[in-house]
Amino acid sequence: MNTPTAAAGGLQARPRPGRPVAAVGVRPGVWLAAALVLGFLLLFMVLPVGRVFYTAFVEADGTPTVGHFVAFFSQGLMKESFLNSLYVASVSSIFAALIAVPLAYFTVRFDFRGAILIQTLGVLPLIMPPFVGAVAMQLIFGRSGSLNLLLGEWFGVTLPIMEGLNGVIFVESIHYFPFILMNLTVALRNIDGAMEEAAMNLGCRGWRLFWRVIFPLALPGFVAGASLVFVKVFDDLGTPLVLGQTNLLAPQAYLRITQVGLEDPMGYVISVIMIVFSIAAMALSARVLKGRDYATTQKGGGSIRRRRLSPLGALAAYAWIGAVLLIVLSPHLGVLLLSLAQVWSFSPLPDAYTLAHYATVFQDSSGMIKNTLLYCSLAAGLDVILGVTIAYLIFRTTLPARQWLDWIATASLAVPGIVLAIGFLRLYKGITLPGTDTLLTSTWVMIMLAYAVRRLPYALRSCVAALQQVHVSLEEAAESLGATKLRTIRRVLVPLMAGGILAGFVTSFITAAVELSATILLTSAESQAPMSYGIYLYMQSVAGRGPGAALGVLAIVVVAIGTYLSHGVVERTQSRFAPSAKEAQA
């Protein structure tokens, strides 16, 4: 791309993304990449989902109608649900930001051990297996949870933490703040240290420096995270259902889609409306960033300077981090206790402890661990490839209607898992693997693809944010030195985006590891079941709570190790680029 650019570095004017720069012809390779991405989205998302959602737009005999939508808008309950969803999503995003922004800033700005703690423990809230997490939260914060039992005993009061919409907001914000934490951390790291130096030379310090220079430069990462939290909470089903809140859009859709023997088009109507709204929210967040440039040129080692904390400052930071982590990790503590408990009922702590549940689980879950790792790493790998490609097509090419790829991919956030799974079964009905009579839909590939589609938006947001921070002049430099387009992407662009790509991979991976609704429907043999399915299976019965929690703990550990290892990979990749940066500084 021969974009004419002014002098490198800084917040200078650059042709806006999303608008053709000049009448440059689109290269055939770009067309091919776009076709592949579009093909994937069509085959594994648009067509299967469309096959199911079709009911929302037709009469019983197949003639098109908007009658179902009219019926939706005439219901007071739907208006109420919409407003509730909007309220919960907005407030949750704010609280998630309040938790995440200080944590992200600490890790990047200060040189102290707490940073590693945040990096490792900060993603754990996302790895909360379904049901187990809900049970654990109730055991800790619920109306008869440890906290309230102790409060009642000591002070005679109880806190309705898990009641009503506020309960939903509480759970959602401590569950999803890592989206902001991860993306913002990466974005802060990518800021050119020269920006900070320049600001300080001009006399800018303290809060002013943070609010006027550093935070604005990291805005793509923040918006990527916050918009994900917003849309995710807006579309989230599990938390409200567990807390008994039905008057939100996602539960309303779900309750109607999953009634025995009643095909209610209203459920699909709600889903379609949620998709449209989610896309609108994403488009809006893109508009916020539009017209500004966040790219800085210096990379690798030249990021904002780390400082040492004064002893008092360190103490305060540790206290804050400790308090936040204690709250956000209490469900994990609950799961751990539950997995070791013999009986835990209406008491602050279990009556007695046992290791028997782990013994039960180890007998039959090794296959499940392997399956989870296989499906999730493939799905997350696919997601970052798609994510980087889509981000590149949007910001570095003049392909017509390229924004649509982003929107389609993002729409999958609002597609209920069960709808996607039914769509898969319906669209690929009767199609067998070539040369055998094994159904395509009864292979594990379908589960993996469902994960990839459902978790694509996470990876995509991270990749988009990462690319927005890379200045195009670096690629131009590479190209003017004779590198081909592909080589430039491989050797310059992707390494520069590595942090963001990793954040995307990790988010996709760990959230796929706890995906449930599509998993249940698409699992067609116990041998191909992942851990989330095993947990679900155990949690269906009274005697299975302990083993279910034990498997939940294993899932958390396995995914945490996976996350830790992938961080290691990125550190190594980045250190490969460090020497050149040092030379540049020298």
């Binding site: 908007v66 109730q138 709570r545």
Partner: protein, 438 residues
Amino acid sequence: MFKRMLVASTLAAAVFAAQAGTVTVVTSFPKELTRIYKTAFEKANPGIKVEILNKNTIQGIAYVRELPVGQRPDIFWASAPDAFEVLAGQKLLDNVAALANKAAPAKVGNYPINNPQGLYLGQALAGYGLMWNTRYMAANKLPAPHQWADLMKPVYFGHVAISSPSRSGTTHLTVETMLQGEGWDKGWHQVLQIAGNCAAVTERSFGVPDGVNNGQFGIGLVVDFFGLAGKYSGFPVEFIYPDVTAVVPANIGLVAGGKNADEAKKFIAFAVSQEGQQLLYDPKISRLPILPPEAMDGKTPKGYPNPFEIAKRAKVHFNSDLSESRYNVVSALFDQTITFRLKELQAATKAIHAAEAALAKTPNPKAAALLKEARDAAFTPVVDAGKVADREFLAVFAASKKDAAVNKRVTALEDHWNTSARQNYERAKALAEQALAR
């Protein structure tokens, strides 16, 4: 027969070599139960493997429906009778009348154990009852309940949990039993008062026993095996059957277009045989056999409930045709006026309880009149007995909602119920507060 078997076996040898003799069972039952059956069956039938696919009932139906003939699982095994009706309606079940256990009685109470058309068989019996957490009850100083009607008492406000008829076939049955036992208007009065005392209407039927086990709720309306299994697993919970209860079978059926019908039939026959029925006594399963205790070879544990006695004791003669005719109406009415308006219903109930307590101390005719008005506003169903007997009205709810005109009518009605319920509860709350102020 021989020829068909020959063909089948050649086919199996040629094509399904890897899967020969594998019976695939789709079930919503927990692992403890399925594992015991799988082990016992495989031991009794060497060479046949059982593959258990655990899915919740709704996903199970979708899974069977979306697979092509010849690739479907072989057996569907689940609690909710309505799920089997749906499968039968979509021609997804084969006749299995020949596999029924001849020793099983035709009916439990007034409910047929096996499907009269022979499309599915009763495999275990389940009754609905009350389960409570003894620690919770002690801490909150609550007496143990005995009957459904006990749950209307003010003392239980905020301590009860129930699932919704639209989510759980057994809850639907319990609600319908109350409606048939007391009559539509009086029955709804009762249901609404119990619901007003509820802390939650859970989305999954398992959410109720789970919440009672961990002490989140005090009392739950649950299927017997949930209560019994919790007790036998060491949780501080108790379970009783109230006098008015329905006993119904959990079922097993042969899926049309499965892979291995012959082996599957053996599994079904095993599950309803005396040997298979005895497995239900395992404490981890704790379900009731379809065979009367005298046909169980003396293996019945001491003090084990006898479903046939319980069903006999029940005063209600359950009319399944009546239930069927208004199935969707009851579900929708419950959701629109209870599940989605629980907050307002709770507030009204609380205010009524408060006014009642004050009135009991200092009688006041004006306040009593206001209170009566409040109770009527809160606990009268928005659809009266006359309307629900109207065929035309029922027809609207039986028609396919895929039709936009039908959908519009149904949603308009639902919206009307929802709004009226909200207004009624708010009015009841205001009236009760007035009564209290006097």
